[in-house]
Symmetry: C2
Amino acid sequence: MATLYDVARAAGVSTATVSRVLHDQAGVRTATRQRVLEVIEELDYVPDGAAQSMGRRRKEVVGLVMMASRGPETEVEQEGLLFIDEVLRGVDSSLADVGWSVLISVVREGGPNALQQLRTVAAKVDGMLISEGIVDSGELAQLAVHTPVVLVAGSAAEPHADVVCVDNDSGTTALADHLIGRHGRRRLYYVDGPPEAPDAQERRRAFEKAVARHPGASLTGYFSGRFTTGSGQQAARELLAAANSELPDAIVCANDQTALGVMRELQAAGIRVPDEIAVTGFDDIHLGTMLTPPLTTVHQSMRQLGERACTLLLQRIADPDLPRRVERLPVELIVRESCGCPPRGTRA
Amino acid sequence: MATLYDVARAAGVSTATVSRVLHDQAGVRTATRQRVLEVIEELDYVPDGAAQSMGRRRKEVVGLVMMASRGPETEVEQEGLLFIDEVLRGVDSSLADVGWSVLISVVREGGPNALQQLRTVAAKVDGMLISEGIVDSGELAQLAVHTPVVLVAGSAAEPHADVVCVDNDSGTTALADHLIGRHGRRRLYYVDGPPEAPDAQERRRAFEKAVARHPGASLTGYFSGRFTTGSGQQAARELLAAANSELPDAIVCANDQTALGVMRELQAAGIRVPDEIAVTGFDDIHLGTMLTPPLTTVHQSMRQLGERACTLLLQRIADPDLPRRVERLPVELIVRESCGCPPRGTRA
DNA sequence: CTGAAAGCGCTAACAA
DNA sequence: TTGTTAGCGCTTTCAG
């Protein structure tokens, strides 16, 4: 492998000059530049990244740490699994502008000390994007002392890092208002996500608040799920089994995966959605458009989440003394048919 | 940021000793080790990755280069998009064993010189996994001179790199035999993928061969698609528009995305699948299980693809003089209902 | 416009 | 068992 020295020697210039040419810096005579360029070409020289990092004291790499899906590999209908892809795209596009790269690390649930893994990553990057649920606030604080960190889809209340999250509040509220105001649903049932997930908390609270604002409407029940299809099925089964009680006329789910399970189970029991019971989700995963009926939900752009998080991270790396920031991304109510609305005109 | 020197000084030992402790190497008295460990803890020391790379002349990072989906971000039904996730998981699991990391780079179609981008990645890694369709054989040859490269899902005929691919042949053959032998389909129509994709070529050839082996069966038509849902729809539309000709009794698609489009369009035209026309895919994407009828297809594990490719890469990095290898991963015929088979017992 | 040279933080061969 | 020290390849300041 040719080094900078080889190039310098072959071109009869100093390493400083080669470096300047390499980075298109001004102050090199055209003829000299030309000569160096030729030698570079000839020697097929590629600068060594590690050495560059040492020299400029910056690696130009950011870490993206995400959670592996729980369960066996074939279980695609899982929390997490669906998001790496989109978030990664956002991050990448934000990085492409400046020529940096992403280092990915997947944390396996129950894997040995996630913190250790994070440290390993930290050694190789200038800053990291960590998705919610990987470390607790204390560990995060430790990490953030030396490494710029942005929490992706994390709790806005996290005091030790910048956070980019989604406006769960307005999304959930819009959904509830639609269901109650537009469709006159009154007996609402809620299928929650895991209590430790900030998104789940925010959505549930917002939902309760929204329901409370509508006289006549009430929360008839509640299931504590885990953002999974299985949770949804379980919730629906329990609901159906409780024979003594009247069924709700709408089931609001903490996310689309859950809604999927609920719908599946209801329909298997011969219940018509949305005629008898409306079902809604949150996230707007692609699968939702393929269901019968198509799922009414709240759209959030994971891509944008990644992009914004990365942008914040780059800014913090550039200036570590920036005040802490929280960015809340807008969401959009996506009305399809599972809420009771009629089919939209033409299909894609 | 504390350095190795700080630790050495504070512990009253040499940097060599600290390094030994850091890597759990033998030959350090327990008491010494203990002391060093304490100092490390106290100073919250984290070794610098770039410096480590320099020292050991190895970065312990592999690059994974994949293609961005074409088209707008919302178009999820695209080639490529669906695979990063799974492949990444395989790579990661293979890397987790040795403690290395993955650097991801997404090549945008039409983006400025992919080769340039690859060089940038090459500077930061010890070897790279490149997915099919990113570089041509010539460029690959250039790259591979200095960097270990494994082609993912590439052409087995590629002479300049190791290749991990899928056994398109046996999968397609099994599918054709099933359709013809089991269901007695005779008038077969094929929707191909892009001609430049090795997978597409292999599948088409295998299909033609398989059909030829069955007297009575024939290939009644052929559409040159692009592995996309859109291609499938277009293929179906053309087929339906050609009013003079008799319709086929089976449409075999180069991949699931395409099959999805075909099914959608056929059903929109009131044609019953599989009663009137059977439809099959290749890949076994999750969506296929959700269709009505569920899609009969050929399963390939992208996760395994990533894992194997990564394993080969690690071996080549360890020994660059290894002979070139091609690994062909097994596939499995997944019989569901779109081929004409009856529903399987219980659903998941 | 160009060059000399001092780092950057760690590893590993060699000595002791 | 521990220490010394020569790199690793590039960047960048400071002189010229």
